[in-house]
Amino acid sequence: MDYQIEEEAGFVVEDVSKIIKESVEATIGGNAYQHNRVNQWTTSIVEQCLSQLSKLGKPYKYILTCVIMQKNGAGMQTASTCFWDNSTDGSCAVRWENKSVYCIVSVFGLAI
């Protein structure tokens, strides 16, 4: 009993990663790490991405995580695991860096 008019095609990684990259570039761009602005950056990246993702109009719930880290030679590992429906849900991680900042954004899209 499916009344959807178009093929939904699941979670499309290219669209999502494009949105994230644009949002990170626009927010951090060529800036160096500044402790007092980091909070504002993460908030703005995540909120911009979310609003663009909701404009895609797909029947999905999204979880977005953004980690911004100063380049200091320190190491960091991130892992994620999910219990969901492989046929409809998907995730994508974008790792962005410039001279003084590492930024990792992960998006998880879960079908309703």
Partner: protein, 162 residues
């Protein structure tokens, strides 16, 4: 919901797509299910209507926070940061937390677990997350652990499957 992770792991590959601009580099990584994507999208089982308005049993965020606290302290208490070890440990922690959250047996909830382990060398960092979901049914829990050489952050997100 598909629970055949071990079988499907062999059919997946992690795809990394690099990109470059004037002063930044970016990499996109995602898991690509070889050859199965189209089939699965069409054959996804259409469920019969249950006429259920909301979850009968809500996800207990407190219990989840306790699980996270417990797992992080027991696995990371006396450890020192090492690259190889922490790569394995993040994955192990994810699996352990997922198994324990599944034991809570909350029906119709999808779970996403995120674990970060990092070295403490005086650098500054910020981790934030936002979600687009149904606030009445969906929730999350997170916990932060620190010892002298490393820190660990674990988050669980529970999404109701309507």
């Amino acid at each position: 919901m598909s629970d055949k992770e071990k079988q499907q792991r062999k059919e997946k590959r992690v795809v990394k797509v690099p990109g470059r601009t004037k002063d930044s580099i970016s990499t996109v990584s995602y898991i690509d299910e070889l050859g199965h994507h189209d089939d699965n999208a069409r054959l996804a089982p259409t469920m019969e209507n249950t006429y259920q308005m909301g979850p009968y049993k809500r996800f207990p965020a407190n219990a989840a926070t306790d699980i996270l606290k417990d797992v992080l302290t027991s696995y990371l208490q006396e450890e020192k940061y090492e690259v190889e070890w922490s790569q394995k440990m993040t994955k192990t922690l994810c699996e352990v937390i997922r198994a324990r959250v599944k034991e809570l047996m909350i029906p119709r909830y999808k779970i996403v677990i995120l674990v970060h382990i990092g070295q403490l060398t005086g650098q500054s960092m910020q981790i934030s997350s936002r979600c687009l979901w149904d606030t009445s049914n969906d929730t999350f829990a997170s916990h932060f652990f620190k010892n002298s050489s490393l820190f660990g952050v674990a988050s669980v997100y529970a999404i109701y499957f309507e």
